[in-house]
Each structure stands twice: as structure tokens, then as C-alpha cells.
């Protein structure tokens, strides 16, 4: 979200910065005027709240690597969000010469031996630093998942100063502890479509028989990798034994009552990562269930009497597999998910025309979901 915000904030600066500088947001303290500098600068500082815990130094409670090299001061920080990790770089030119930095020449060296290049979405432009100027920018790592393999990291920024040639500023980091969420991409919002057979009914609701199927629609928003909330819409169609209901005699034209249910509730969403692509999800929801007649138009009162709503509890346990991950602009991913699991609906009290219909219903669901 912060990176999207940065993109929005940078839009007013279009006249000051080329488009590719927006994708590679580098803030020049002296060139970009007024509120644009202010808001971008506040944005960069706000990134400090997203520092990677697993790479923090206990002496400073930060990931900072402060360097004085090539007649420059430089600071490096590791930050990340749910889909990418970045290195935040600040460079201050202490020399009396104008220097330039080519972001395309930046390298990452992991574990002292593996070299990786940044995962730019669009080719960034070169930047210039006049004497006394500073620049701030963030550079995307090619893969967040690769952080699981890394114990130490060097960031090498090449500075060109014309006649003096090139000089490399190196920032160094060391992992202090392993934190799973910093080594994996995950979604912050999911939309899920589910369907499957009804398996079992217990209690008086058995009187209605089995529905022909169950379907569900849900959306979850995650403020934490493991915890979120959302809504659940769950339905069951055409209970096979609805004709047993006492209300049948209220129908005209010989039509039979055919019960259907909808449940709409607010749910908590728990997500446990079994691996980078496989999760166990548990989604308990509280809401209201409505039983209604799918052929209401043929009843004497247009189905009003045969409709009843009651408090209900529903919960789903699913195993999800992210089978496809589509990279999106601004360093986001669109994930596609397949899943399977069980659903249980509990209705403590529900009646239609004196017929008690409380009880438990169970079903199996197959899920297709999308998230980003």
C-alpha cells in the first residue's frame, strides 16, 4: 500500500520527473519542488516502519548500514511489504564534483558469492548528484522468496565521477533471525468463489433433506500475514425433502415448497503458511441465515410466510494452493488459488410455520480464488 501511495503522491511531480523516475522513485532534494518533495520524503521515512525484523541490528534496532565511501555518505536499509523486499538507499555527495549513479549498475551480493541484479519493473533512469545534494530511493530485490537462503547481503552502488572514474559504495547487512513473512510473498486481499456438495445434516433440519449443492462467495482482507477479516456469503439450494414441510398445503396450483438457504456473515480469517504456496485457512463467521422458497411466486402469500431468518454460525477450513502468480505493475503480484475444504453451518433456532429447522449442516467446498 505504501508503494501505491508513493506512486499517487508522485503524480503531481510529472512535470519535474520523467515517467521512469516515477517507477524508480528517486527524490532529489534540490530539484523537485514543494509538496512533492515533502510528501515523498515523508513517504521514505515512513518506510522505516517496514524494516525487515530479521535483519535488524540489536544495538540500533534497525537494519541501517551507514557508510562513508567514495567521498560520499550513504545509508542503506532493508524494507519490505507483503510482495517484495527493497533496499532503501540514501546518498549524500560530500565532494566538490557532480557525480552520477546508474541504477542499472546496482548489484546485490548474497552470502558473499551470488550476484543478483535489481528486479526493476521498468528501466530506471540515471541520476545526478551535484555537490552537497542528496538522493533517496528504493531498489526492488528480484525475489522475496530468495531471502530464505541468504545470511548476509551486500548492496553495491557504482558512482561515476567523470575524470576520476567509477567508485563503488558498499552497504552490508547480516541476518539476525529468520522471519517467515519476510521471506515469502502473500496476499493482503482475497476474493474466493466456492462450490460443492452437501454432506450431512443433523438435528431437526434433517427434515428438509439434503440440498442439491452449496456455494459460497467470500472476501478477506489481511492486515497481518496470518490474520484478517472479511465477509462470507453462503448458500444451499433446493433441499430435496422440502415437500415434507407442513406448509405444503398453503400452496396453490399443486406446486411444492422447495427450501433454499442463504447465509451472510462477517468472518475472521486465519491463514497458516504450510509452505510459500500452500496455506491452511480457517474462517469462522457469524451472521444470519435465511430459509426461503425458490418457488415463492407460486405460494398463496408470495412466499412471505415461508421465509424465516435466524442467527447462524458458519466456519470453513480450507487448504489453499497458489498455482499461479502474475507479476503486476508497482511491484505487486496477482495470485490465483485453488483450494478444498469443509464447511459447517450451525443454526441454533429456526422455525417455519412451527416446524423446527435448527441443527447442523456440513458440506465440502472447492475454492477458486484471486488475491493481491
Amino acid at each position: 500500500m505504501r508503494y501505491l501511495l508513493a506512486l499517487l503522491l508522485l503524480v503531481p511531480g510529472l512535470s519535474h520527473a520523467r515517467y521512469n523516475q516515477i517507477i524508480n522513485p528517486l527524490v532529489t532534494g534540490a530539484t523537485v519542488a514543494g509538496v512533492v518533495v515533502g510528501t515523498q520524503y515523508a513517504f521514505y521515512r515512513s518506510l522505516m516502519a517496514s524494516e525487515l525484523e530479521g535483519w535488524k541490528n540489536k544495538d540500533t534496532d534497525s537494519t541501517v548500514s551507514l557508510e562513508s565511501q567514495c567521498n560520499m555518505n550513504a545509508e542503506f536499509h532493508l524494507v519490505g511489504d507483503h510482495s517484495k523486499n527493497f533496499v532503501l538507499v540514501g546518498i549524500s555527495n560530500l565532494s566538490d564534483k557532480t557525480v552520477s549513479v546508474k541504477p542499472s549498475d546496482i548489484e546485490f551480493v548474497f552470502n558473499g558469492e551470488n550476484t543478483r541484479f535489481p528486479g526493476w519493473f521498468i528501466q530506471p533512469s540515471d541520476m545526478e548528484l551535484k555537490p552537497g545534494w542528496w538522493q533517496l530511493g528504493y531498489i526492488p530485490f528480484p525475489s522475496k522468496e530468495e531471502f530464505a537462503k541468504y545470511e548476509n547481503l551486500q548492496v553495491k552502488v557504482t558512482v561515476n565521477s567523470g575524470d576520476k572514474g567509477a567508485c563503488v559504495i558498499t552497504g552490508t547487512f547480516k541476518k539476525s533471525k529468520k522471519i517467515l513473512r519476510e521471506e515469502m510473498s502473500y496476499t493482503v486481499m482475497d476474493i474466493n468463489f466456492e462450490g460443492g456438495p452437501s454432506l450431512l445434516q443433523t438435528g431437526p433440519v434433517k427434515y428438509l433433506g439434503k440440498p442439491s449443492g452449496m456455494f459460497a462467495l467470500g472476501m478477506n482482507v489481511y492486515g497481518h500475514p496470518n490474520h484478517g477479516f472479511g465477509f462470507t456469503l453462503l448458500g444451499e439450494s433446493s433441499f430435496e425433502d422440502s415437500k415434507n414441510l407442513k406448509i405444503q398445503n398453503e400452496f396453490k396450483k399443486g406446486s411444492q415448497y422447495r427450501a433454499n438457504t442463504t447465509f451472510l456473515g462477517i468472518n475472521y480469517a486465519y491463514r497458516h503458511f504450510i509452505s510459500h504456496r500452500v496455506t491452511f485457512n480457517y474462517e469462522p463467521a457469524l451472521g444470519y441465515q435465511t430459509i426461503f422458497d425458490s418457488r415463492a411466486s407460486s405460494s398463496s402469500d408470495n412466499g412471505r410466510q415461508e421465509k424465516a431468518s435466524a442467527f447462524a454460525f458458519a466456519h470453513k477450513a480450507m487448504i489453499n494452493w497458489t498455482f499461479a502468480r502474475l507479476p503486476m505493475p508497482t511491484y505487486r503480484n496477482l495470485d490465483f488459488v485453488l483450494g478444498a475444504g469443509l464447511v459447517h453451518i450451525w443454526v441454533p433456532s429456526e422455525k417455519i410455520n412451527g416446524q423446527n429447522l435448527n441443527g447442523d449442516r456440513y458440506g465440502a467446498l472447492v475454492r477458486f480464488g484471486m488475491g493481491f
Partner: protein, 147 residues
Amino acid sequence: MKKLILLFLVTSCSVSWVPTIRSPYSLTTHNGFIVTNIYTNPTDLEHKENQIGIKYDIIVKNIAKIERSLDLNGATMAFRETTLPMTCQSYQKEVTFKVQPDQTFRIQCEGVLDRKKNLGDTKMILSIPLEKSFGTFTYVVRSEDFQ
């Protein structure tokens, strides 16, 4: 419906917010120390009943090749004719301590202003002792902060 529109308008107005950059970004060298202020919250002030709390957070690296001794007593914030004290300590809660060559450490400072005395828009100079010198930083408070 009218109430909803009114509620929307009131809510829209009440959440409008313009960030104030209180202290410009600084990555400089003071007396053989590299100092960055990037961890200082750029916008937030702490509003107490009769006081405004100012917090300043810097990360420092000793780039001299010798051990250095720091005494953080004597930090101040100055504006116009007034100089007020600030209290500073390391992240380990030490006020006096030694730092080794290439050691990186964190200093966190706090100062207060009297909220009843509206200074108007004021640019203060915060001075934090770094051995024989001071790291200096500008910090802006605005007239609205005293309301």
C-alpha cells in the same frame, strides 16, 4: 439521505490532512561521525495537556579510527532568544558511553514546549553533543501545534 450526505461531508472535512515536514532529511558528517536523521518521525508531535513533546531520533557511526567518548548531557533546542534543554540517551539507555571505531549506535532525544505559549511558526535548532562537537538539526513547529 440528507443526514448521510451531511455525515459524508463532515467526515470528508475532518480527515483532510496535510503532512508537515518538521525536520529536513540530513545525512551528514559531524566531527568524525556519520549521522542520519531518517528515523525521526517527520510529522508527528506528542500533544500533552499543557506541553508539546518533541522527539528526535538519529543513527550515528563512528568513522574515526579511535575509540570515542560521548556525553549526551547538554543537548538543547534553541529558537529566537530561548534555549531549552533536551534529554538524550542511547538506545541502550546510556547517557555517557564509549563507542569503538566503525561502531553504529542510536541516540534518541526528547524535549518539551509549553503549549500555552504559542510561538507561531518557529524553526528551532536542535543540538546533540557528539564528543567535542554538536550535531545540529532544524525542526519546525507550527502555530497550529499549540492549539
